[in-house]
Amino acid sequence: MAESPFASRGASRIWAHFWMVLGVILVVFPVYYVFIASTHSTQTILRPPLPLLPGPEGLANYGDALSGGIGQIGGVSLWRLLGNTTLIAVGIAVGKIVISMASAYAIVFFRFPLRMVCFWLIFITLMLPVEVRIQPTYKVMVDLGLIDTYPGLILPLIASATATLLFRQFFMTIPDELLEAARVDGAGPWRFFRDILWPLSLTNVAAIFVIQFIYGWTQYLWPLLVTNSNEMNTIVIALKKMISFADAETPWNLVMVTSVLAILPPILVVVLMQRWFVKGLVETEK
C-alpha cells in the first residue's frame, strides 16, 4: 500500500501520536471509568476521586449482579434484561434484513403496476422517524394490543428505507446475463435468489446486520413508550430507572455492573466485526 500523502516524520509524527492518544483517552475514558467503578464497592464509588485501577470487588460485584442482586433493585434479573435486549436487537436486525431484501427483490427483478409508487412509499418513511409521531403511534399500539409485547417492541422498527435502498442498489449491479442464464436453466425466482443472489449478498447482509443490531440494542424512546411492565424492559431503560430512583441506599456498584453489561455487547460487535461495520456505516448513509 502506498504511504498516505499526509504521512509525517520526526516531531510532527510524535505530535500526531500525542494528539491521537489524547483523543483516544477522551473517547475511551468514560467507558473505562464505568468499568473501574464496577470493580469497587459502593463506599469507594461514593468517595471521590475513584482509583484509576480496577479494585478488588470486581468478581463479587459481577457475581452478585448476575445472581439476583439486580432483581432487588429493579425487580427483574439481569439475565432477563440482557435476554430482552438481545431478542429485540436480533429481531430488529433480522426483520429489517428480511423485509428489505424481499421488497428490493420485488422492485428490481419484477415489473408490475405501481412499482415505483411502492418504492417511494418505502423511501418517504425516512422522513417520519418515531420522534415526530409519538402520540398517534402509541395509540395504534394500544389499539392493536401490542403494549408490553415483543412484537410491539420489534415490528414497528423493522421497516427500513435505508436497508431497502442499499439492497436495491446492490441488486441493480447484478448483470442481466446472470439472470438470463439462470432463467435459461429453468430457475424460478426462489432458486435464483437462493443459489445466486443470496451468496453474493452476504457481505452486505453482514454490514447491515452489524449496524441494525446496534440500532436495536441502543433503542430508547420506543421501548420507553411501549413498555409499562419491568419484565419487558431493555437493559438501557432498566438502567435509567435505577438511577432515577437513586437514593442513599442505591447499590452503585451493581448499577455500574449493569452499565458495563449494557455497553459491552454492542462494543464487542463493532470491534469484532469492524470491517463490516465500517462498510455498513459508509454505505447505509449514502
Partner: protein, 293 residues
Amino acid sequence: MRRTVFPHKFLPWLLLAPQLLVTLIFFYWPAGQAFRQSMLKEDPFGLSSTFVGLANFRRVLSDPGYLNALQVTVVFSLLVAFIPMAIALFLAVQAEKITRGKGLYRTLMIWPYAVATAIAGMLWLFMFNPSFGTLAWPLKQLGINWNPLLNPNHAMILVVAAATWKQISYNFLFFVAGLQAIPHSLLEAAAIDGASRRHAFWTIVFPLLAPTTFFLLVVNTVYALFDTFGIIHAVTGGGPGKATETLVYKVYNDGFVNLNMGDSAAQSVILMLIVIALTAVQFRYIERRVHYG
C-alpha cells in the same frame, strides 16, 4: 435499466406486503393522525373533538414554553453539530500523519458509536455527578460550584458534552474516508510548490472535504434534534427548570406526561416539516455529489 425480469404478477406484491404493511400501519396512519389531531381540539375528557383549523399551531408558536424549547434546541443543535466535527476532523488529520498503529487508534475511536445515547448521558453523569463524580471533584477543589442538577448552564454543558462524545467516532470515520479519497498528486504538487502543510490543508484539503463536511453537518443536526432524546431524558429530564428541554423532549412531555393532544400533535407536525426540510437539503447535496464526483 434491467432487460430481463421474472414474469410473475402476484409474487412481487407478496414480497412487498410485509414492508408495506409495517409502513402503512406504523408510519403513514399515525403520521396522518398527527395531521388530523393538530387541527382538532378535544374536550378535557377526550369524548368529542371540534375542528379548530390552525389554532393549535398559533397557540404553540406563541407559547413562551415552546419558544424556549426552540431556543434551547437551536443552541444545543449548533453546538452538537459543530463541536464533534471539529474534534473529529482534527483527529482524522492526525491519524493520517501516522503510518504505524493507525488501525489500533481507529478501533479504539469507534467505541462510542456502539453506546446507547441514553447510556452516554449516564456515563457523563457518573463522571460529573456533583456528589460523587470523580471529575466533578477537582472542579470543586478549584472552588467551582459545579452542579448540573441545579445550574442551567452546567446542565447544558453536560448534555452537550455527552452528545458530542458519542458523535465523535462517526464523524472521525467519515473524515478519515474523506481524507483518504484526496488525490495524492494534488498534495505532492502543493509540496513541490513549497506550500506549507498548514497552507495546503486550508487551501486544498479542507475545500476538497466540503462534501463530507456538509454531509456530516446534516447528519449531526438530525442526530442533535432527534437521537439525543435519550440523553436529555436520562440525564436532566429537560431541567433544571426548562434549561435543557428540546423540541422532541417537549413533544414527548406534552403528549405523554401532560396529555395535551392537540398541542402535542401540532408540535409533531412542525417537527415533521423540519425533517422534510433537512432531508430535502441532504438529497440536493447527494445529487450534486453524483454530478461532480
